[in-house]
């Protein structure tokens, strides 16, 4: 596949493994083993069984009739919001926890922004009886209290990241620093970011989303492929999963939606592809938001899950080669879209997911066009934000 990374973890010019020597043995161990484990029969059997009986997969592909009517196209929603723990994140944590166990690791560390990946990690650690430490920006701990409580109830230790801007990028820095000092731990990264082989490994574990979409759409419509797939992108794990099995099908339009915050040019944005330049973040060469001297800039979005100054190297490559079209949605557009889906379909989406929905009015949709939107998560965690704006 031309969208697979090469042996050094590069997608075109993006990817690689820019890590301190201290992390080399850890990354190398994973690099040498992840494909063997993922492709083994025993892993596939256990992974698929857990996805079915524990997560509740396959997640439905739902024809959103009223939404379709409104936008004059055939719109399907891939219901990742119905997964256990409420988002696509668990597909990856189930897979990685099995890999960690296979490698004999007993201590798991993770980073989290909105807390969805932290909850999904704490969940699988509880399931496997493994010790779990989650790094979370001090600022995010304050604004995502329910997820912090869930992680604690699940038995995870939540460590506040107090360095830098005290959000996701700093939580990731702290997780990496902890990993340097505790090389026996397993670092369970939550998105298609970080040093090789994480971007590829996480994409493969999220690929179940598009694997199901393929047969589900055929079952619904008889069609091989949709015309368009839309997904939101922070680091980009749900988009990687939704695009994965369509990357080679060039006739399928792939749309990645970034968070524009208060507007792409407002200075308060997280639209990395529009504002970023080539650089290295968290061990990966990609597109990232930085100043003229390469200092990483803090992004802004109403959605803590899209609030990341970089983007996975696969997405940087899809952007550069124009295989995916990059669009964006502001805070306000996302809120409007969340309300619209709730009222039209009775589904409250996560704020992250609402960004994917928010591009529908900006598209020139045709009546015979089939669109799949990856509904990556549910909106319970964002109720406080929704209520605040309901009152406005």
């Amino acid at each position: 596949m031309k969208f697979n990374p090469d042996k050094n973890g590069y997608y075109g010019q993006f990817g690689g493994s820019f890590i301190p020597e201290l992390l080399y043995p850890n990354a190398k161990e994973l690099e040498d083993n992840y494909m063997r484990i993922i492709e083994s029969e025993s892993f596939q059997k256990e992974y698929k069984a857990l996805l079915k009986d524990y997560v509740g997969r396959p997640s439905p592909l739902y024809l959103a009739k009223r939404l379709s009517e409104k936008y004059g196209a055939t719109i399907y929603l891939k219901r990742e919001d119905l997964n256990h723990t409420g988002a696509h994140k668990v597909n990856n944590t189930i897979g990685q926890i099995l890999i960690a166990r296979e490698l004999g690791k007993t201590q798991i560390i993770a980073e989290t922004g909105a807390g969805q990946h932290g909850v999904a990690t704490a969940t699988v650690c509880a399931l496997m009886g493994l010790e779990c430490t989650v790094f979370m920006g001090e600022k995010d701990i304050e604004r995502q209290a329910p997820n912090v409580a869930r992680m604690k109830m699940l038995g995870a230790k939540v460590v506040p990241a107090t360095s830098g801007s005290k959000t996701l990028k700093d939580a990731t820095n702290e997780a990496i620093r902890y990993w340097i000092q505790n090389p026996k731990a397993y670092y369970l990264i939550g998105s298609v970011v970080g040093m090789h082989p994480y971007p590829d490994m996480v994409a493969r574990l999220q690929a179940i989303i598009s694997e199901e979409m393929k047969w589900q759409l055929k079952e619904h419509t008889g069609k091989e492929n949709p015309d368009t797939i839309i997904a939101c992108v922070g680091g980009g794990s749900n988009a990687a999963g939704a695009f994965y099995h369509y990357l080679e099908d060039e006739e399928v339009e792939l749309i990645a939606v970034e968070a524009a915050g208060l507007g792409v040019d407002s200075g308060e944005s997280a639209a990395t592809s529009q504002l970023g330049e080539v650089g290295v973040i968290h061990g990966s060469k990609t597109i990232l938001m930085q100043d003229e001297y390469g200092q990483i800039v803090e992004p802004y979005s109403i959605s803590a899950g899209l609030d990341y100054p970089g983007v996975g190297p696969l997405h940087a490559h899809l952007f550069e080669t124009k295989r995916a079209k990059f669009m964006n949605a502001t805070d306000k557009e996302a809120l409007t879209a969340a309300y619209e889906l709730t009222r039209l379909e009775g589904i409250i989406p996560a704020l992250e997911t609402a960004h994917a929905l928010a591009v529908l009015p900006k598209m020139d949709l045709k009546s015979d066009q089939t669109v799949i939107i990856n509904l990556s998560g549910r909106g319970d965690k964002d109720l406080a934000t929704f209520i605040k704006h309901l009152e406005e």
Binding site: R177, I180, G294, Q295
Partner: protein, 255 residues
């Protein structure tokens, strides 16, 4: 022969190297710090380029970096400062920064400036060997710049041999599995590691860093390596006693 190798030719025992973050505690402190360190007999100096996301650094260097960036430090300012004192300074300088700073500045432009400052040695903690060989080795060679590699207690013998063959001058031997600023004594486990590396009879010199903070740890490190690097402890001293305290600090370390 690079500037650090020239030092080794004169003396290769008990070498003391000091790291500081450019722009800390004050934007214009760089030149005075270098002058004081040189006058007090420090053998070579590492100038840290402050970075927003220093992955390999502990709280002390992180803090100094944040302060330096707030003070307005950037690559152009530090290059100007270093060029200004080039003719007066006789202590070799090593530049230490993260790879993203170099990519953004432009690899070629960065190398030109480094050379213009009279510097021929750099340490880039997040530039691994494979990336160096594929993307930087030829460029650095063109400008006569030496890259310093790090080894750690987890680095395999095979990899250490390879690093040794790529090294011109010294290998930066990270004393323990830690970020910078680790404190305490040197453990028996670390001594085993130091002895293991010493027994490899590498062609490169060994300079030990991370967790070296006082006379005791410095002396111990020098039993196994050709010298040691002190960073976080020096930054703490700078923070407390300022540039005036440098002489005293160096004296205490050397004993």
């Amino acid at each position: 022969m690079n500037s650090i190798q020239q030092i080794f030719q004169k003396n290769d025992k008990n070498l003391l190297s000091i790291f500081f973050t450019a722009g800390f505690p004050k934007l214009d402190a760089t030149q005075n710090i270098i002058k004081e360190l040189g006058e007090n007999g420090v053998d070579f100096i590492e100038v840290g380029l402050p970075y927003s996301d220093p992955l390999a650094d502990g709280p002390t260097i992180q803090h100094s970096s944040s302060v330096a960036l707030r003070n307005g430090m950037n690559l152009d300012v530090v290059f100007n400062q270093l060029q200004e004192i080039k003719s007066m300074n006789t202590t070799p300088l090593v530049l230490m920064g993260y790879v993203n700073q170099i990519i953004k500045y432009g690899e070629d432009a960065f190398c030109k400036k480094v050379v213009a400052c009279g510097i021929d040695t750099v340490i880039i903690p997040d530039l691994p060997m494979v990336e160096y060989e594929n993307h930087y080795q030829a460029l650095f060679k063109k400008y006569g710049i030496t890259n310093v590699f790090l080894i750690t207690p987890q680095t395999s013998e095979e990899r250490i041999r390879k690093i040794d063959s790529l090294t011109e001058g010294f290998i930066y031997m990270v004393a323990s599995s830690s970020i910078t600023g680790a404190k305490g004594e040197i453990s028996a486990q670390q001594i085993d590691y130091f002895e293991r590396i010493k027994a490899m009879n590498l062609r490169s010199k060994l300079i030990i860093g991370f967790g070296i903070s006082d006379n005791e740890t410095f002396t111990k490190a020098c039993e196994y390596g050709n010298g040691a690097i002190i960073g976080s402890a020096f930054i703490k001293s700078l923070d407390k006693n300022g540039v005036e305290g440098i002489g005293n600090f160096v004296e205490l370390i050397k004993g």
